[in-house]
Assembly symmetry: none
Homo-oligomer: 216 residues x 2
DNA sequence: ATTGGAAAGTGGTCTGACCACTCATATTGA
DNA sequence: TCAATATGAGTGGTCAGACCACTTTCCAAT
């Protein structure tokens, strides 16, 4: 009963096709007319799917050349979300504050739970922070903390807020940042709640300031 | 020379139109044919812009009815709640903890804001706490704090969580309780953040214990 | 061998035509 | 009179075909 939303099927087909043919970022994908032919749909439907993926920053189109898998993380999404959905500044501020509220509460919950500190997961955490070949994603760091807090509702709310707050943790941690994150982990491990929360907040706020500077 | 990507202009036009006409989440936006007419572009171009925004979750289309601005705040909350109102104990615990997290964060936000303390609203607060003929509702006390925090998103989340956490603040404040609440207010007024949060938590946890005792 | 331009291929856009669905209204039947 | 039904207008969903603007390729004239 695939009633409406054929273009969503196309999005799915494209994803599968990209996976199956091992199309890598920067590579060209079949032309619109070709896709319409093989998928047995109209070209306009193909285009609706492609336009959606383009606004998401997943593909890149060049007139006269073709359509390509995006190689850079395009932050068009960020711009659209921040200027469209969250219409006024107060809403954006509310989302940011509420998200951070959940993050700080997670840290406090982790610190308050003795059993977590004993489980030796911090060593693994540190190891991945150091060894990750492609660089450690900031987002992964925070999400892991949210998971460790054990509050699944808070985690779900966080995921949604994070999605709507313009990728505040986009990017990988630099060398200097790594030191700060290790400090935060150490504070958590030692159950120094206030210090951990304070340092996390400083780090998080710093990222925000940087992002706001870049946007303006 | 933005020759290509007309649909991106449409996205921008739509944003401006929504702002200018003050279209609120859940409201209907003009039909595709109407937009094509007023913006002087083909309907397919309009559709490419709309499909993009739909994949982003910004709008919602219903065949035969029209296109609507997505109520993103409610949607995400509804999603969270619907997947979460499974009645196991862990969920209940998560709801309680998350709700209290928002309450404590509100108190901290109020304490951090000097302008609130100066506005003399605390006297009015105290007065109503003393004079209310039918007794002061606990729920009103907490809600007022949430409102004063100024974070509307947090307030919305709190209202829903409160509804789903078994009316923890049901009932009116007793004489003894009134003293405790006055203490909390005083601490907030003096911007003694930690003390205010601590006393509030004690009061809130006490109510919960009492309720759990009554239920079993 | 170099260069100029045509040809082919691609994305960008518009038009007009259906279809499927919703809703308000008019019509019909009891 | 009132309820059930039929209708028509309006809307999103999809398709086919036609151009346009642009890039790349390749072949022919120099």
């Amino acid at each position: 009963m695939n009633q409406s939303k054929r273009y969503l099927d196309i999005v799915r087909d494209l994803r599968d096709m990209i996976r199956q043919d091992n199309i890598r970022p920067g590579d060209r994908i079949p032309s619109e007319r070709e896709l319409a032919e093989t998928l047995q749909v109209g070209r306009s439907t193909i285009r609706e799917a492609l336009r959606s993926l383009e606004l998401l920053g997943l593909i890149e189109t060049r007139r006269g050349e073709g359509t390509f898998l995006a190689d850079h993380r395009n932050n068009m999404l960020v711009e659209v979300l921040s200027t469209f959905i969250l219409q006024d500044n107060q809403s954006q501020k509310d989302v940011r504050e509420t998200r951070q509220m959940h993050e700080l509460a997670a840290i406090q919950a982790i610190c308050a739970d003795r059993t977590i500190s004993q489980m030796g997961i911090w060593d693994g955490f540190r190891m991945r922070l150091s060894e990750e070949e492609n660089g450690f994603q900031r987002e992964d760091f925070v999400r892991e903390l949210m998971v460790l807090s054990g509050n699944r509702l808070s985690l779900k709310i966080w995921v949604l807020l994070h999605k709507y707050s313009g990728n505040p943790y986009n990017g990988t941690v630099s060398k200097a940042e790594k030191e700060r994150l290790l400090n935060i982990l150490a504070a958590i491990e030692q159950q120094e709640t206030d210090k951990a929360a304070q340092e996390f907040k400083t780090w998080s706020d710093g990222l925000l300031k940087e992002r706001l500077r870049n946007d303006s």
